[in-house]
């Protein structure tokens, strides 16, 4: 049972909900690159964070298993979560930029070769025709 709601619980649950919603929406819409495995990973990572935020007692069991029960752990873990979120966001942005650069490079090379591609296409078509005429 939840006795008292803390700010961090609201923040973590809100972020997790957005990430889960996006993942499920992308999967349901069958957007490019969305697989069941990717959805499962999202559910485990972000769902796990939400569950721990809502039911913190679960983390006590975990901390007993791991063997870290110090109060300072909470501070370190909070900082770690923030750093993780920032890195996650930055790497996603870099990945997106990389993809955009590749797409621009691709369009540029195809535009540059457009006339030569069209010429080759016509050559192939006329070659096919003459082959058909011969046979």
């Amino acid at each position: 049972m939840i006795e008292k709601i803390h700010l961090y619980q609201v923040v973590v649950v809100a972020i997790s909900s957005v990430m889960l919603f996006q993942g499920i929406k992308e999967f349901v819409k069958r957007e490019s690159g969305q697989t069941i495995l990717k959805l499962l990973v999202r559910l485990i990572v972000w769902g796990g964070m939400a569950v721990i935020a809502i039911y913190p007692n679960i983390s006590y069991k975990f901390s007993k298993i791991v063997g870290i029960e110090d109060n300072i752990t909470a501070v370190i873990v909070t900082g770690f979560v923030f750093v993780f979120l920032i890195i996650f966001k930055l790497l996603s942005a870099i990945e997106k930029l990389e993809q955009n650069v590749s797409e621009l490079t691709r369009r540029d090379s195809l535009r540059e070769a457009h006339e030569r591609i069209e010429q080759l296409r016509q050559d192939i078509v006329s070659e096919d025709r003459s082959r058909q005429d011969r046979s």
Binding site: Q99, R106, A113, I117, R121, I124
Partner: protein, 226 residues
Amino acid sequence: MNARIVIVIPVYNEATVIGEVLAEIRKTGNFSIIVVDDGSRDDSFVQASARGALALRHRINRGKGAAVKTGIMAANLLEPDIVVTMDGDGQHDPADLSVLVQPILDGIADVVLGSRTLNRHEMPKTKVVANFFGNFFTWLLYGIWVSDSQSGFRAYSKYAALIIDTKADKYEYDSKVIREIKTNRLKYAEVPVRTRYTEYSQGKGQKQGLVNGLITLFRMIWNMLT
């Protein structure tokens, strides 16, 4: 072979061998050849153009996957029956082209994967081990077990060449194609191909070594999370 076959070759600093590779391909049949120069610092583009290939040029290096995708997009404009991808360093034997495209001509496959490991005795032991891990993680992440997930010698039907779409720019492209096969429920086949491990092809720094392999694995896992 009456099918219209377009061969796509991504190259990066292959000026010394690309001419020979193209000449060898020409000996095996009348194919249209597209060479994608992925921002080379040498004159790969000039060499490929001079030997009659349709040469495209990336102004900056974007990786093997990006170059292959550019080549396939250009190939699709030529309305081919089959698109074949092969490496530009001469490690693939053009004599295997007929074996590679046969399952598509027979209508039993949309994608044919040239497998180096089906001729494993020719493969260096380090490559066998690296390839196993590549296959394992491809299976783990994308759900299909293939004998050579990192082979660049592949054939695609017209339909597969149009439908396969991945944003992978680097070496993970080859594994992403496996994912696309599963996602789009394409029929696939594997055929054994010979690989010529020359001093030249083994000596190139940008090829899949241990570090590049780990980076590729990281990219595959990262793409699962984001």
